[in-house]
Each structure stands twice: as structure tokens, then as C-alpha cells.
């Protein structure tokens, strides 16, 4: 593999020649041609006249493209459109110049070459990259992980195909008009346009292939445990799965487990906690590096790109462990296998158990018409079993004032925990403290049922709230649908 002078893959196989007066720090990969013009003038490799001629040639290309853009139907465009097309032209020229061996060669090319020809070669490189990216996308789509992580799925199923469909080599080459929410373990945002997307897919493929080395049920279990630790619904949050899997595989190796294993038992956690707590930063670095080598060996990972990617991620992990060990917070880094979830006994969380709309409407009517709050609570308790129906009922405003309190008073801790988990979702996921302090700090909420619930919880004693808090940690987020 040969890299361009920014460390990205290049096609040219010739050997580099020594650098000259060009200051590397003055050059940008994103605006390579422009920074090269500036830096070339600064270093005396280009005079003003030459820079002017190069700019004029670029503008002639722009003129031609504007004509093509308007299909000859309009002689003017907005400045924004013209700037966009110019950025696209420069992106193509950048693509070619960055593929040359070094910056001197690139300046020489600008100085003596035919700019229109450089541009055409650049467009060809962009086109090639686009074709390779489409092929790569198809591979990634074929080998996609089967996990209920929304950002991951929509990025692959929706965002990337939209990008590939809309990408324009001539007028929009520099644009990265894709809303790829799924975060990579290591992202390089210095790239733009199709080169960025290609790199994103290459890295995603490395990540996917690695995750495929582990059992799917273990991966799902890890995600679930991770959600519990962070107190959020992992399905709708933005986080990287590869990093979690890699870290736990390393922890497994370090605590005497198998390299192909990502479930860490409480016993293994204790062992790791002891190891990290008594080690300094350099010892932790050494442990992780050795574990990484063993992991790569045992899983037979030989591809240099994958090895480099894993090693780079290992560096992040070392920093996190050192910090977490210092603050006695290793449970946030070492995702440990939790005990089985307690399933709520009264409320059904299955969407299939919902009642029909007609029946729901009839019951809501009946509740509204009931005269006493006791009657209303009795009606609710004897007819509502599904959480979805409960939420519909609460949202319908069929209760008023202290009728809510009467209903909440009839609930057990588990039901209150489920509702609290919905109402305090943001606070819990942000780690804003325990439930007791979250409730005390919460001033107000909408709609009314949430406001009344907060008031109700505020009146409960601390020990009951702590009991509810413990249950919140054990509720399976997966099963609660956040409408």
C-alpha cells in the first residue's frame, strides 16, 4: 500500500524524492491546491504571475462547468452555486496533486502542467474512487451485523445509498452530503467528499469483520450490558460497537479468558480491577499492548490495516483505563456481564398485547365519566395491562389532579421504575446522579402525567426511591418502546 503525502492511499508507485522549502504545516489536505499556491508563493517556488495564470486557468474550467451546469439555459448563477462548483473543481485537482509523490512535484505540476489536463486526471481519480466506493458499499451491506442499533442500520441501509445516489462528480465532488450518524471508532474528518466516504466504509468494514469473529448472542448481551451501565437505550444511542467488542476481547485475554470471548464475568472484573488499580500508566500500556498482540495472534488477524486500526484504538483504551483506574470508575470501561434482567410482572411490554383502538377509546370514555378517583383507578387496574396502553391512557388526559396520585399510589416499585425510566431518560443517561437527586432537582415537566409523577415521587421516602432506582438499573431498555 502506498500513501499520498497526507497518509492517504495513493496510486502512484514511484519512489518519493526529497522535500524542499515547502512547509508541510502550511498545507491542507482539504484545500491542497489553494494551500499549495499560497505556500509555493511564500517559498518562492511560484511567482505572482504564475499564480495568476494558474488561477485564471482554474476559472476557465469553472466557466465551462457553469455553462454545463445551466445547460446553456442561463448565463448567470448565484455566487453560492459558482463557489460550490469551484470547490468541486479544486477537489478534483486536489485529488490528482495529492496523489503525486511529494509537494515539490505537485507545485512543479501546477507550474508547468496543463491545468485543464490536471483537472481531467483529477476527475478520473474521483470517478475511480466513486466506483470503488460503490463496490465497497455493496460488500459492507452484504456483511452487515445483525444488531438492533438504529444509527448503524440507518447509516448502512439509508444514508449511504442516498449519498451514492446523489453524489455528483462534476458539480458536487467535494460534498459529503450524507447523514451518517453511526460513529466509527476512529474517524478522519480531514477528508471530504467521496474520499471520506470510501475511508468511512473501509473502516466500517474492518470493524464489521472484527465483530463477526464473536458470537452474535455475546455481542447482543454486551450491548445490553453497556446500555445498563450507561443507563440508556443502546438501540437509539450513538456509540461505536467495535470499540466495545475490542475492549472486552482484550479484557478477556487479560483476565485469563479466551480471545474469542467478550463476556466478562464479575469475577474477571474483580481480577482486572485489581490489576489496573495497582498498575501505573506505563504498566497498563504494556498490558494492553501485550494483550493486543495475543488477541491478534489468537484471532489470526494479519491484515496490516486492521492491525494498525486495532493498535490505534488500543491507545484510546489505555488512556481510558488509566483515567478510570485513577477515579475508581473501571466499571464504565470494563463492561461486565450483569445478572439476568428482572421482568416486570404486572405490565406487559409487548406491543402485541395492546388493546384495539376502539376498546381503548371506549375505556377512556368510561374513565372520564367515572365519578370518583377510586372508580377510575379500579377501571384502569382491571383493564390496562400493556405499557403501551398505559402510556396512551396517561397521554390522553383522562385523569385530572389527584386522580394521578391515586393511580400512582396503586403502583408497585416496578411500575414506578418503568415510568420513571421514561420520564427521566435524559437525566439517567447523562449520569446526572442517583434517582433521588434527579427527582429532587427536577422542577417541572410536560405533559401533566409526568408532572404529577414527579410530584408523587418527591413525596416518597428515600429508601423506597433507592429501591426503585435499583430496579431501573435492571429494567431491560430493549423492551420498552420509547414512542
Amino acid at each position: 500500500m502506498k500513501l499520498d503525502h497526507f497518509g492517504h492511499e495513493a496510486n502512484d508507485s514511484r519512489l518519493p524524492i526529497p522535500q524542499s522549502e515547502i512547509h508541510f504545516s502550511g498545507l491542507k489536505r482539504n484545500q491542497y491546491t489553494l494551500s499549495l499556491l499560497n505556500e509555493g508563493q511564500r517559498a518562492g517556488l511560484l511567482d505572482n504571475r504564475e499564480a495568476y495564470v494558474i488561477q485564471n486557468r482554474l476559472l476557465l474550467i469553472l466557466q465551462d462547468l457553469i455553462r454545463r451546469y445551466t445547460q446553456g439555459k442561463s448565463s448567470s448563477v448565484t455566487t453560492e452555486t459558482a463557489e460550490n462548483i469551484l470547490a468541486s473543481v479544486l477537489y478534483a485537482v486536489d485529488a490528482y496533486l495529492a496523489s503525486l509523490e511529494n509537494h515539490d512535484k505537485a507545485i512543479l505540476c501546477l507550474k508547468t502542467g496543463d491545468i485543464a489536463d490536471l483537472y481531467e486526471k483529477g476527475v478520473e481519480r474521483v470517478r475511480q474512487c466513486f466506483e470503488e466506493t460503490k463496490r465497497l458499499y455493496n460488500e459492507v451491506k452484504r456483511q452487515k451485523l445483525d444488531v438492533p442499533v438504529e444509527a448503524y442500520n440507518t447509516t448502512i441501509e439509508e444514508s449511504l445509498p442516498i449519498f451514492l445516489k446523489k453524489y455528483g462528480i462534476l458539480f458536487d465532488a467535494h460534498n459529503t452530503m450524507a447523514s451518517m450518524d453511526y460513529p466509527l471508532a476512529l474517524d478522519d474528518m480531514r477528508l471530504q467528499g467521496i474520499f471520506y466516504i470510501k475511508q468511512y466504509l473501509e473502516r466500517l468494514q474492518i470493524e464489521n469483520r472484527f465483530c463477526f469473529k464473536f458470537a452474535r448472542e455475546d455481542l447482543l448481551r454486551l450491548l445490553e450490558n453497556f446500555g445498563s451501565v450507561c443507563r440508556f437505550d443502546y438501540r437509539i444511542e450513538l456509540f461505536n460497537m467495535f470499540e466495545l467488542v475490542l475492549n472486552n476481547a482484550l479484557f478477556s485475554v487479560l483476565s485469563g479468558g479466551d480471545a474469542g470471548q467478550i463476556r466478562i464475568s464479575p469475577y474477571q472484573f474483580e481480577r482486572l480491577e485489581r490489576m489496573f488499580s495497582y498498575a501505573d500508566a506505563s504498566e497498563i500500556r504494556k498490558m494492553i499492548r501485550e494483550a493486543m498482540t495475543r488477541l491478534q495472534h489468537n484471532l489470526q488477524i494479519l491484515d496490516p490495516k486492521t492491525v494498525a486500526y486495532m493498535n490505534e484504538c488500543g491507545q484510546n483504551l489505555i488512556r481510558r483505563i488509566v483515567n478510570a483506574a485513577e477515579y475508581h470508575n473501571l466499571q464504565a470501561v470494563i463492561i461486565t456481564d450483569m445478572e439476568e434482567k428482572i421482568q416486570p410482572v404486572v405490565l406487559s411490554l409487548r406491543a402485541g398485547d395492546r388493546m384495539s383502538d376502539v376498546r381503548l377509546r371506549r375505556l377512556l370514555d368510561e374513565i372520564i365519566r367515572s365519578e370518583t378517583k377510586e372508580e377510575k383507578v379500579r377501571l384502569i387496574q382491571s383493564n390496562f395491562f400493556s405499557l403501551h396502553d398505559y402510556l396512551d391512557m396517561l397521554e390522553s388526559d383522562c385523569l385530572y389532579g389527584d386522580e394521578y396520585d391515586a393511580l400512582y399510589a396503586s403502583f408497585g416499585d416496578m411500575e414506578l421504575a418503568i415510568l420513571a425510566k421514561i420520564v427521566f431518560y435524559e437525566e439517567l443517561r447523562n449520569g446526572s446522579g442517583d434517582l433521588l437527586s434527579i427527582i429532587r432537582q427536577k422542577e417541572d415537566a410536560e405533559p401533566d402525567w409526568q408532572k404529577r409523577l414527579i410530584g408523587f415521587l418527591k413525596r416518597l421516602d428515600a429508601s423506597r426511591i433507592n429501591g426503585i432506582d435499583k430496579l431501573i438499573g435492571k429494567i431491560d431498555y430493549e423492551e420498552i418502546s420509547f414512542y
Binding site: Q55, L59, S74, S75, S76, V77, T78, T79
Partner: protein, 157 residues
């Protein structure tokens, strides 16, 4: 890179050429009793540049200006004494409309619409023309948005 500045610096020698092109057009407009003096042309080009700049637009050449002159010279409502000022105003309306219709209507078609409206509905009133075309642009955008939504709907199916 300041694009407007660069374009201008590229076109330093061009105003003279534009002047000649527009003077030549007098031959075509003469039969309608309409001509532009060199100073009027210079003023017209300066005004056009100002308008382009104020609407955030860049233009290659003066094809639109020539089209406006040729098409509107046939209007029964334009007389020599207010010919130059009318052309200035028409440029203002034209580039305003280009922006407001989001570049979705080609120059020739847009100038045709302006001419038709000017001659008929507006009876030669520039003020009325501006207000009618503002309405036209608003309707056009709504229609374009509706078409886009429909297309998106079809894409989703």
C-alpha cells in the same frame, strides 16, 4: 479565493467588447425607434454589475442583457426617452426573478414571461410588473415545492 473579484479581474478587457456588442444591437432596435448611446451602455453595464452583486450572482458574458434588449425593444410601451432607464429597471427585475425562482427557469423563458406580462397585464408599468412577478415567483416556488414532494413520494414508493 474571492470569486467575484477574480471574475472581475479576468474580465478587465471585456467591458470594451461588451460595449461594442451592445452598440451593434442598436441596428436591430433602430426600427422600433430605440437606440442606446455609448454612455448609456456604460451606465447600463455598471448598473447590471451592481444588481448582480447585490443579488449575489455571477454572470458569464452579457447574453441576458442582449436578450432583454432584443425582446423588449419590440414592446409598444417603451419609448426612446425612457428606454435606458427602463432597461436598468428590467435588469433589476430579471435578476431578482432569477433568484426568486431559484434558477429553475432559463433566461430566455423568463424574459419572455416578463415581456408578456409587461405588455399585457401591466400595460407597460414597471411598478406593476415587479409586483405581478413577485406574485408569480411566490406561486412558482410553491408549485416547485409541491412537485418536489411528489417526486420524493414517488422515490420512496
Amino acid at each position: 479565493m474571492n470569486l467575484s473579484r477574480l471574475f472581475n479581474s479576468m474580465s478587465l478587457s471585456i467591458p470594451e467588447q461588451h460595449l461594442i456588442e451592445l452598440l451593434e444591437l442598436n441596428e436591430k432596435t433602430q426600427p422600433f425607434g430605440l437606440t442606446l448611446a455609448p454612455d448609456e451602455i456604460k451606465q447600463l453595464l455598471a448598473e447590471r454589475n451592481r444588481v448582480l452583486h447585490s443579488y449575489g450572482r455571477l454572470e458569464l458574458g452579457i447574453a441576458a442583457t442582449k436578450e432583454i434588449i432584443e425582446v423588449f425593444s419590440e414592446s409598444p410601451h417603451i419609448r426612446q426617452d425612457h428606454y435606458a432607464s427602463t432597461l436598468n429597471e428590467l435588469h433589476e427585475i430579471f435578476y431578482f426573478l432569477k433568484n426568486e425562482t431559484e434558477d429553475k427557469i432559463g433566461d430566455a423563458k423568463l424574459i419572455g414571461i416578463m415581456k408578456d406580462c409587461f405588455d399585457n397585464e401591466c400595460g407597460g408599468s414597471l411598478e406593476l410588473l415587479r409586483s405581478k412577478l413577485e406574485e408569480f415567483a411566490a406561486d412558482f416556488r410553491i408549485e416547485a415545492m409541491r412537485d418536489e414532494l411528489l417526486r420524493e413520494g414517488e422515490d420512496d414508493e
